[in-house]
């Protein structure tokens, strides 16, 4: 007994209706899969981007705002740490290094971040190309920067918001000519598109004390306590885990705020839990729509097949043969739809990730995990059970009456 030649012939003959059914199922599955895959990609991508930022100290305020500004390099307004706190922090022995971060300038929409070579080395492990900056007029670019080592540029005051420099209050070029001397390895974070310069340059360009004696060309620590301005934030690499907690507590005062980015992200995720629930609800609604589509499709396609199945019964085909055709036809379409949906869902999630990565700089790597396969499997299983419906109905009907009616 082999119903497949007949199932195949039915599929070929009714290919347009079958394709429409497959695409309907695939659309629903892909949406459900993409929603869940994308939510996970966002979570893992943002966590990975913040992974190398052990502790951040900033002026009291919103941890989320500081996180977005310091880690994800989103334009924002943050208060400055008081200079005395900054000095105390920069010289704290419980930290392997403390890297001040200074913002305010850009070049061709890429943010220029003033910091120390320690942070550059820490984020990149080793550089992909060139060396870290050793002079104020030198820069290291992120892995995704279009700038080449050896290229020179003049920093522009202001950071474009949403890529539109027109929105800045006072865009103008600073006079300094900066040379790119190195390129970082990919970090999967917005830092890949950024330009890192010595923080002294940022201070100097903004007419602030630049952390060293007047006329000194030094870059990096130690900083002169009397000549160090406040900074928006500092990235701290504690020597030990215990030191990390000590530092956080020590700098959680009225004047400063110390926090672990990972914790802030976790709180952010919990706040976004409602969004996740909404996405889960959307996924469930999508699945329900898919199942409704399957039921409707089954009933519509069933109408095509009934006369043929009745004929086969009248010719003496075994009941199992009829059931296998009725089930096999719909089950094949559901299988094709779910399979295509998984592929399309991954593709959709990949496309959205690319778009978001281009927009935010956070590398998002969509994957298909057990939850997506579970959704696909549950839709497939339900579809296959629903596919029994035509088989059952054909068996239940009186053959003589069916012959007269069809």
């Amino acid at each position: 007994m082999n119903p497949w030649p007949i199932v195949r012939a039915f599929l070929v003959r009714h290919r347009w209706a079958a394709l429409a059914f497959v695409f309907l199922v695939a659309a629903g599955v892909s949406l459900a899969v993409a929603l869940i895959s994308q939510e996970r990609a966002l979570r893992t991508g943002s966590a990975r981007a913040a992974d190398r930022f052990d502790l951040i100290v900033a002026a009291p305020g919103s941890q989320t705002d500081v996180l977005l500004t310091a880690v994800f390099l989103r334009p924002g307004t943050t208060k400055l740490l008081p200079p005395e706190v900054t000095v105390r922090l920069l010289n704290d022995k419980r930290a392997a290094f403390v890297a001040p971060i200074g913002f305010g300038d850009s070049h061709r929409s890429a943010p220029i971040v003033g910091t120390t070579s320690q942070l550059v080395t820490h984020l990149s492990n080793e550089l992909q190309e060139g060396r870290v900056f050793a002079r104020r007029e030198e820069a290291v670019v992120g892995a995704a920067s279009p700038m080449k080592v050896g290229e020179t540029f003049q920093p522009t005051h202001g950071i474009p918001r949403d890529g539109n420099p027109e929105e800045d209050a006072d865009p103008h070029e600073h006079g300094s000519m900066i040379t790119v001397v190195g390129r970082m390895k990919p970090t999967g974070s917005p830092w890949d598109s950024a330009i890192m310069v010595p923080v002294e340059l940022v201070w100097q360009l903004h007419s602030l004390p630049y952390g060293h004696e007047e006329g000194s060309e030094a870059v990096g620590p130690p900083f002169d306590p009397a000549r160090t301005p406040g900074v928006p934030a500092a990235v701290v690499k504690p020597t030990t885990i215990a030191a990390a907690y000590q530092l956080r507590n020590a700098y959680t005062t009225n004047e400063s705020m110390g926090f672990f980015p990972a914790e802030a992200l976790t709180r952010l995720y919990s706040v976004m839990g409602d969004l996740r629930q909404l996405m889960s609800l959307l996924a469930i609604v999508t699945q329900a729509l898919v199942l409704m589509a399957i039921v409707m499709g089954v009933l519509l396609l069933f109408r095509f097949l009934v006369p043929q199945l009745i004929t086969l019964r009248a010719l003496g085909a075994p009941r199992l043969f009829i059931a296998a055709i009725a089930w096999g036809f719909t089950a094949t379409l559901v299988l094709a739809g779910v399979g295509l949906g998984l592929v399309a869902g991954y593709g959709l999630s990949y496309g959205v990730s690319q778009w978001l990565a281009a927009d935010t700089g956070v590398e998002l790597t969509p994957t298909l995990d057990s939850s997506e396969y579970l959704i696909a499997a549950s839709i497939l299983a339900t579809g296959w059970i629903l596919a029994l419906l035509p088989a059952y109905v054909v068996q239940r009907r009186s053959l003589a009456i069916s012959l007269a009616e069809s």
């Binding site: 012939a9 003959r13 004929t311 009248a314 010719l315 003496g316």
Partner: protein
């Protein structure tokens, strides 16, 4: 005469079939039908519309379970078989030809003819495939790789005939096999059915067609579900080559 006395062939005895109408009242579609369908003979079942011709054919085929009476084929009481067993019996013993052909238009000519072979095999055995090709050729058809929906009505009826003959059944049951055919095609089908009887098959046709009736060895005339005239050969002595 008890038709079951016959050693071979198909017989029905005191067959009755009743149904409920739309108002829920029962009515007898068939009542007290006794007849024998011998191998090598063409039996035409005639009668006005609604007289129970197709119901009788469906009872004989095991498609419909009679309310009373018995259908016997050889040593098998077909009417007492369960549905699956009746399907199996029909598959092995009956070649069905339907009034509207009931071809599976999703399939080609050859695929339609070989469909019954799929019921019991994973692949159509080569011997049956060859037999299908022979039948197609003998019935004047071309083995075309096109849907049967593209064929003429005469061609479609011949495909239906070939399909009915594939498994070499002992009984051919045909419902109005010439109803929608032109005169030439109807004559061809009638000749084919006659030829099948000549090969020893019991051929039972429900028909309104005088041409087919004139070639039948037996005629059963139904009226309101009962046999109106005795099941006799009306053309005894008139037909050349009569082998009754």
């Amino acid at each position: 005469m008890n038709p079951h006395d016959a050693e071979a062939g198909l017989s029905v005895f005191q067959l009755g079939a009743s149904f409920c109408d739309v108002t829920g009242d029962r009515f007898d579609a068939l009542s007290g039908i006794t007849a024998q369908f011998k191998p090598g003979r063409v039996t035409a079942i005639v009668g006005p519309s609604g007289s129970g011709k197709t119901t009788l054919l469906h009872c004989i085929a095991g498609i419909l379970v009679p309310s009373s009476g018995e259908i016997r084929h050889g040593g098998v009481i077909v009417s007492s078989l369960g549905e699956s067993a009746r399907d199996t019996w029909r598959r092995h013993n009956c070649g069905m030809v339907f009034q509207d052909f009931r071809l599976i238009d999703e399939l080609t000519v050859l695929e339609n003819v070989t469909t019954p072979a799929l019921f019991g095999h994973y692949r159509v055995p080569s011997i049956l495939r060859e037999r299908a090709r022979t039948l197609i050729r003998d019935l004047g058809l071309l083995e075309r790789s096109v849907s049967t929906s593209r064929l003429s009505r005469g061609e479609r009826q011949r495909v239906a005939l070939a399909r009915a003959l594939l498994m070499d059944p002992a009984i051919i049951l045909a419902d109005e096999p010439t109803a929608s055919l032109d005169r030439a095609n109807a004559a061809s089908v009638a000749k084919t059915l006659e030829g099948l009887a000549g090969q020893g098959k019991a051929v039972v046709c429900v028909t309104h067609d005088d041409l087919l009736v004139s070639r039948a060895h037996e005629v059963i005339s139904l009226k309101a579900g009962r046999i109106g005239t005795p099941a006799v050969d009306p053309f005894v002595g008139l037909r050349a080559g009569d082998h009754a």
